[in-house]
């Protein structure tokens, strides 16, 4: 009994996510969001409530974007080799976007680490913790080493993941791939 929306929320939130990814939360203004999402402020607010609402939805969008990669990772069963492939897939996703930013969630954790927004911090932290657990499980499959060493390797690889996120914005894809090779030649 009323007019129809001229945009699909999943489409505009994907554009918002890319904008936040490039610029971070604070440097992204509503004006930029209007332009990038192709709709105006009223529509943004009626769909997502606030700028923060758009950002939270963007984080979900990012997670669903990498979800397929996570599923593939979870289902694979070659242990450490899966983690290596996971890193390659991560690099591919960043390169596909053409951006030189690290992981959106890692960047978000950094930007919000001193703020008092527990919801955002919790979402990011749980994402990282899940990843850490996944890594640990993979190591159990692919190795016969004792647990304490496994834990250390898991930490090592999780940190390597952060390093990948940070380094991918200052190094070429080739260098990152060299890095992956060297990392895994030591395990």
């Amino acid at each position: 009994m009323a007019r129809k929306k001229e945009y699909r929320e999943e489409e505009v939130i994907d554009k918002a996510m890319r904008l936040f990814w490039r610029n971070g939360y604070e440097r992204t203004s509503m004006q930029m969001l209007e332009k990038e999402m192709g709709i105006n402020k009223f529509s943004i607010y009626s769909s997502f409530g606030s700028k923060r609402g758009v950002f939270l939805e963007s984080l979900n969008c990012y997670q669903s974007k990498v979800a397929a990669m996570f599923e593939k990772f979870k289902k694979a069963s070659n242990g450490v080799e899966d983690i290596k492939q996971f890193f390659y897939d991560s690099v591919a996703i960043c390169a596909e976007e053409g951006n030189e930013k690290g992981c959106l969630l890692t960047n978000t954790y950094n930007e919000f680490s001193e703020s008092d927004d527990p919801e955002i911090k919790t979402q990011v932290k749980s994402f990282m913790d899940n990843l850490k657990l996944l890594f640990l499980e993979k190591l159990r499959i692919g190795s016969n080493k004792e647990d304490s060493l496994l834990l250390k390797q898991a930490n090592f690889l999780v940190i390597a993941k952060h390093g990948l996120a940070a380094a991918s914005r200052v190094n070429s894809r080739e260098e990152i791939e060299d890095y992956i090779e060297m990392t895994f030649s030591s395990i």
Copy 2:
């Protein structure tokens, strides 16, 4: 023939640097700077010209803060072992501050990567390039390997440094130190 300043610029810029380190550039307001530096806006502007001026001086302050560590690194002569020690010193500096942030310059590179402020980006980039050259030189001292492999290892270690910066904000000091041990056990 006139009144004396009631603050020393080196002292207030050190406080500003710590504030920028914790919060990043965009989330740090003049109001916060006034409070943290202990002087008011007029004094800030007469001493540093602008918020950006305070930030540029803060970056210099950060560099001079780690300069001693760099000098020690440059003068040492145990090759790869020096790099390892350099990483330990880096961790110590962060822990000393009590913050859980990565390297200020790495964070700055991330925050400004999409902005059009070439001066800041150039300063950060040259810092990283210098570090990379230093690493390469250290590898030459401590190793007899051929050049292409040396270059790869240098990249690897520089990326490890970025990883350290990124990971130090989500991992404990003990985990970071485990990470350093594992990194160097593979070289």
